[in-house]
Symmetry: C2
Subunit: 216 residues, 2 copies
């Protein structure tokens, strides 16, 4: 497997920033987009439940509508692609069953052998309120958001996470009402404009000692 | 900047799995650990507020104690390193002030120029309940978790996210009570044991169509 050196990884993560101005003429090549979609698809989640749905919005009419529900942020329409990340509202018994089925068929495991895992997931999720479950699912979606932005950076693709959106309006525009999924956050992907003044601003982070403690 | 090809990225993310059994004799080299810590430090967060704290636990006594609070999962003690990810409980006016100061000094911007941003963050966080804030901060921590696991994978380092931990017991062991931070999740990092049967199991994910919709 070809890996990235420590220096190259850090350089890519230093290079990454919340891109404010995208070059609207630059499109993500098909193979790169496919790798980004794979990164979402392969994201880790608790118990592997994948409590999410990802919308890759290419349609420009839709993006115009979404921009109006995003404080008019130009990234929504100018970036090559817009991803909307939605979280599942609950985890139901059929959801758990679907996952166990998927696991059994992918791994060629008799389904009976997965009964203890199914029991564990059922017990764990059963102890949660609807609100806890929604929050738990939402956190999983943010793992996918992290995996997406890091994956983009190591391939030299720019990104901008967008929390400042009207999730309820996104749900309406994307017909999510009643689907069991709710919009949580969006992420614009593409290539920075050469005029984005934020591209060259020094990256600001708290001093390392404030956020990392090594306990030897 | 050296980037990863689409094929190499997908291969790395396919290679990654929730490692159940680590080779306790293999340690992450210092430069690699430093790059992983940088990945945490450089993680994106909403408004850049970095509402988190990361503990890199090398101490074996502590890890023995933490393992007892983690359903006795061997990853806690056998992996090269254990990272505990904690979320800030709130975002206070002084927190926002600290961040604006950091931004101003890093970027050489007069602090008055950042007053509109400071106002926006104050308004946004001021509209949240304590519970909303804690959930919001927790989601940010999961971006860092995603960035950490993806970064590990592209460098050929194994990881296992650990949600099945007693966060309250972790808080006690790490003396977090009263610190303003709370344990949320942990992540073991190191190298898979050659005996981990999960390493060769086919990766199970729902069919792509179930989780990704391209709207052209």
């Amino acid at each position: 497997m070809n890996t990235l050196t420590t220096t190259d990884l850090t350089a890519a993560l230093q290079w990454r920033y919340a891109t404010k101005s995208f070059d609207a003429t630059k499109k993500i090549p098909a193979a790169t987009l496919e790798a980004l979609i794979s990164a979402l698809h392969l994201s880790p989640s608790s118990f592997g439940l994948q409590p999410w749905k990802f919308f890759v919005i290419e349609n420009s009419d839709l993006r115009d509508q979404l921009r109006l529900q995003s404080w008019n942020q130009p990234q929504v329409t100018d970036a090559s692609h817009l991803i909307v990340l939605a979280a599942k509202e609950t985890i139901t018994t059929p959801d758990i069953h679907d996952w166990i089925q998927c696991l059994a068929s992918t791994q060629g495991t008799p389904i009976e052998q997965l009964a203890p895992l199914q029991g564990m997931i059922t017990q764990f999720t059963g102890a949660m309120s609807i609100d806890d479950m929604q929050q738990w699912n939402s956190r999983q979606v943010y793992i996918a958001l992290g995996q997406l932005m890091t994956s983009a950076a190591v391939m030299g693709v720019d990104s901008c996470p967008l929390e400042g959106i009207s999730a309820a309006a996104y749900d309406q525009i994307l017909s999510l009402d009643g689907s069991g999924y709710r919009t949580l956050v969006a992420c614009a992907l593409g290539y920075r404009s050469e005029h984005d003044k934020y591209a060259t601003a020094p990256k600001a982070r708290f001093p390392l000692e404030k956020v990392v403690s090594v306990i030897a």
